[in-house]
Symmetry: D5
Subunit: 93 residues, 10 copies
């Protein structure tokens, strides 16, 4: 599983609506509306590196009201939780 | 459950070691070593707002080699996954 | 009581008017028009973390003329004053 | 009453200790340890503009571990609360 | 006398015209068109802190063509010149 | 008369002492300790462009505790005050 | 062979289309859509310094949807691969 | 001779045209279209400080397509070349 | 093949030496010493996402004299050249 | 002739000395100590692109007291002066 953390700036007055649209995208497991200089932080989890292009420049960036995104791809994940199971990625779907 | 996303800058040459130390902290569910201008992104999940102070300025910031952190607390979470169950927070422990 | 400090940039020529509108919002205890790179600093005080989403992305950001906000949520408050009493939060209303 | 909001960067591993020292200074009514790019936000309330120099460059900046401060002085305060009474400033002391 | 230094960005092609308008405002003693990342630097000198709000957000920011201002209020003035006399502030007018 | 506005960052804990040293330099007419991202703002007034090099890189920058300076030279001055007389520059000395 | 790395910001919602247009330009050997604060990174390889002006301000910057570019020209190339052969530059065309 | 180096941002797609217009201005001895975060760097050489205001805010900034300029005035010139002769400034015209 | 572009800041006086060390690392196909705000740009090409962690935080960041790196991973590559063949990646080794 | 403009930050208290050392380097035709956020601006003029690596990372960056440099290479020069003659480059030496 490859994880990308996407920091998102949106139209200042439509944050909740845009959050819902991004959260509805396949491969987006969580969207947080957050304090600080960014409006939203989306977590994208895919099985193969090649899928990132479809999800982030292909879909997240095209949601109306998204003004700027900055993606940080995980080199490696350190966790005591079973994230693959939690997000049902890599399973038989 | 309250979620905080903590962006972390570390000593440039000790990223993997520091990631492991942060991931071992209670309430830190995931740490990602990432591409881009930050070195690590840690996800902190607690039951009450008051616990954030213990975890982030109290513990994450005190890990040796951590040089700067910037925390974004989630106002709200948008997800189609059951994150409470996934991270066993708010359950009977 | 959870406190959030919201730094606000507004239309350069309508600062006093916007300050009044934000100050009239429930849970906003003070708004300061300030020197420096920000135009306004608003203090939001709520009883539960969940209310922050309603107040800040839900209301402050939607005031016309607000161009950008950056919220800093307090981990902890250090004060020799009784802020709960001062702002009548957590009382029987 | 003149209010100044002081954003503070501190040594990353001594935030709680420094917060307590600043909160103990006269004229500092509140110190918040906060999420985001700053470590602390202190609220300074004085009766006369001249006192700001004594409190901020004179005292806050000299607390050991304070690395950088950025002060925003309020032009004007918009509030439905009686801040003068709350902070007992301008009264008979 | 309270002094504020106001850094101003303006429409790139109307700097001299805007400088003249700001210099004509009462309490603005000098305006400099300057090299570097700012277009103008205005010096505001008032007798009482309360007047700053009228002059800066109230008047300077409302001059057409002003795009952004950043005000630095003086904590204290160090000078071997008699600035009060020079700018006739605090005298019997 | 040529005017330069020098923004100065200093050691955080020695601002008043450094301000006094800069104010004592010839050609420095005023030094302000200020709110915001800079610590001091010095005003330098000389008769000829050539003198700026002696005063700013030659003297201000060499005051111990000065960490960074950013100079903005005035292209032109807009003022209803007689600044030459106020600062006795260009007179018979 | 002279190499220039061109960092590109584009309209947020048209990254794939713009990447294809830039990649079709002569002297552009590769375009990468990338994570992080930039949208595209283009590699330009020419035989003579003079050609850079034709390719970058002359062509890349004029592709519709390109909003900002920042070019880094290589002083020197360190590689264990035969880049001249790989990109057929300096050969008999 | 007083030298000013003017860093210029322009409309991304009209750099060569704007460069020619600026280079045609009197007192502008050279304009370079450049790599990096700026589009053009213009060198202005005048005999008296007072002329800078006419050339830079007065003319360079008013060339259509110029979006932002940042001027660095030379305190002093260090050179083994005879720049006065090279640029025929201060001679008998 | 997955490509990562690594922007590198180094000790200002040892750029050529550090470039050679990074270029000697396996999976680093090219290193460019460059103009602009970065010192080096390294191109890393690996077969699997998992290898990026070994190469970049694992090796590039640990080269002595490397002070900061910012990695941009390619979502997708647009090229009219056969980069797999050029860099012999994915072939029979 | 290829021209590079090198922006230089130096030790704050040794600007004049460092300027002289850089100006003495072959291929450096002028060094200006300047107002604004940079300390020095050096102009490097060489006959071939390959020489830039020897001069800038090879020599300018190694002058003691140079802390950071940012080089902008000219794509093209727009001038009504004969710069080749002025700087005797490309002539019979």
């Amino acid at each position: 599983m490859i994880t990308a953390i996407v920091l998102v700036k949106t139209s200042v007055d439509r944050i909740p609506e845009i959050a819902e649209q991004i959260a509805a995208l396949e491969s987006v497991t969580e969207v947080y509306s957050v304090t600080g200089g960014w409006d939203l932080i989306a977590i994208v989890r895919v099985r193969a590196h090649e899928e990132l292009a479809d999800v982030i420049p292909g879909q997240v960036n095209k949601v109306p009201g998204v003004e700027h995104t900055e993606t940080h791809v995980a080199f490696r994940t350190y966790s005591t939780h079973d994230l693959d199971a939690a997000f049902a990625i890599g399973l038989d779907d």
